[in-house]
Symmetry: none
Subunit: 206 residues, 4 copies
Amino acid sequence: MSPGAPAASGRDVQGSRPLRADAQRNRTRILDAADAVFAVKGPTASTEEIAQRAEVAIGTLFRHFPTKEALVEAVFVGRLDALAEQARSLAGAADPGAAFFAFLTEAVRQSTIKHTFADALADAGVNLHAYEGTVAEAIRDLQQSIGELLGRAQQAARVRVDIDVRTLIALIAGAAHAIGYASQDPAIERLVLSVTFDGLRPPVSP
Amino acid sequence: MSPGAPAASGRDVQGSRPLRADAQRNRTRILDAADAVFAVKGPTASTEEIAQRAEVAIGTLFRHFPTKEALVEAVFVGRLDALAEQARSLAGAADPGAAFFAFLTEAVRQSTIKHTFADALADAGVNLHAYEGTVAEAIRDLQQSIGELLGRAQQAARVRVDIDVRTLIALIAGAAHAIGYASQDPAIERLVLSVTFDGLRPPVSP
Amino acid sequence: MSPGAPAASGRDVQGSRPLRADAQRNRTRILDAADAVFAVKGPTASTEEIAQRAEVAIGTLFRHFPTKEALVEAVFVGRLDALAEQARSLAGAADPGAAFFAFLTEAVRQSTIKHTFADALADAGVNLHAYEGTVAEAIRDLQQSIGELLGRAQQAARVRVDIDVRTLIALIAGAAHAIGYASQDPAIERLVLSVTFDGLRPPVSP
Amino acid sequence: MSPGAPAASGRDVQGSRPLRADAQRNRTRILDAADAVFAVKGPTASTEEIAQRAEVAIGTLFRHFPTKEALVEAVFVGRLDALAEQARSLAGAADPGAAFFAFLTEAVRQSTIKHTFADALADAGVNLHAYEGTVAEAIRDLQQSIGELLGRAQQAARVRVDIDVRTLIALIAGAAHAIGYASQDPAIERLVLSVTFDGLRPPVSP
DNA sequence: GATGAATGAGTTTTCATTCAT
DNA sequence: AATGAATGAAAACTCATTCAT
């Protein structure tokens, strides 16, 4: 599991005392397993399968996440945090345009693994008002870090000024989807990114 | 239900005599219901719910579609046929560029109703080799009619020549996804389409 | 279908006017189909399959036999009649012992095709009191014709005198079952018949 | 439930740790219920009915036996084990002929409860090659223990030497069938056994 | 009478969730 | 806290039987 993976999320559950060491370890294992299984089978994968992969009993899974939905959300938040982290790490780059498009490429690639995430990302990114709790928090955080990158790229005249963060997130999810199907075909992947990037550039001034 | 809706599909099942009037009516009701329910809840919606909405017994549903998969495919084929029909109706237009972008707009809007369709569309469009039967047939038909529009627009220098049909279908699905979440927000819809269109245009020659 | 097959049964349904020619033909087709299908798949075979094999609509099947049970019974009666016919054709033979064992061999072989029949035969043969209608009638008829053969063989001192018709029918069904499993293995078939025959012979007088 | 009944089977599922006390209790209840229900209604009885009789939820039944087939097999193996146990307990008897016929009587009586078992017994006994897993194992075990009894009885000149284990099992099943129907009538039961026993004895040397 | 579409209770199986150990 | 067995409400699918055409 790469650094920045969901389980490494530092987001604290408010109001709960720190977990015992073994409990914390189980929580991490469950999140990692869920992340992997959801990525392959989508969110209809069974909790039982996740528990098995995490090598914990099903009861343990439900002790940590009272419903399946809670688990799905936690995985989602983990991915959002990882994305936001990535955006922040590019925030100070010398070339704002390069940083922006580099982030875009990476974000699309990561979302590509499984549509579920792209779906959830776009939905949350665009309809933040419909969310609450940790998801809303994570999205707000992500929007801010992406906003930073976007703003700088726009100031550097590398991106159309009429694009806002919510539209950008929608575009990322869309491109991820488009590419997701063509996993065998690098040509399509390149073309989709190319079209999206070109469409984002400011119009050539006459 | 708009004209060209799935139930109106003219694709004939080979070798079966025409259905009795009442059976045809039920088949249509089931397809319409499935189309509507899948649009809202995705393909995991239960066959029972669809049967209820169609006001037929569950046995009737399974008489018409022997497995759930067959029903899902039939709905899908219906939508593909409607799209292809649309492409064909624009094929002879005087302005190939306008026709192309008009089709794109319409295709994205229709796919937007539910991601399921966009997903399936892109998957089938890109990975046609993985399909067979009526779905493969419908996709091939759609690819051809879209190809026509695309080819003319490229000859008229209104679309980049490096785009092929498969990439285009992937882009349509991607844009549909992106927009799908922003159903409340026409601004995002406009921007996503604008970015996609601009990205598709041929580079300005210096 | 060999002569003597169930459909050829001459047993009249009491009180019903003679069937129209085409109806009679359909009745025959259904019975033949049911006989064949039940022989292969047992009585859990679906009515639909039988109708298809008979090339009639399912509604036609149920017009002739108001319940599946009625159809099963009719097939059964057909086989009982065929057996009884066979017994009668041997009744006048010169050698009563040979006639008896020839019948036995034939009866076992025929019942062997499918255990269902052996089961039903034994049950009806032994527990005649539990049956009524055409089945009871057919069994009584069969018991009488077998009784004839048995009586003569006993008088000729070729069969133990303590055997009665009901026991004999049970033994036939039992042997048929035993052999049914060994359809691949003629050795077992021969041995089972040999044991049964030997056991039926009168004890050697000292 | 007599000792040696299916639930008491000592056959261990390899590789699985011993069940928790309550789970073992439920497993036993389910097996006992299945044994009883199958005996009355045959193997088409519904899993739901078995679960009800065992007073467990349907999910519990399927946790213990992942398919209905697995349950049917487990019941079958239980009975086979009980029979083999019985054969073994008679193996050392002083009088091999008496032991052999005592076993036969008992085996027929037990198989008589329901034809399903006799059917399965004969099929597996004769066509062992078509089985695998625990069923094959149990049958092999049974064949061996019966073979022992048979061999000794043959050496003592109490049974025809041309009989082999497979034929013997077929005969047991056949007799069980024959008797099964005559449960009300001890006379028939006695006669069927008598015929079978007599048929198995070696021919009187002149 | 024949047809075959419609019905709906019943079947096996899955799975999120609870709770005794 | 962890375990994993138990629960029971679905879910997809079947099939004997009915009834409109």
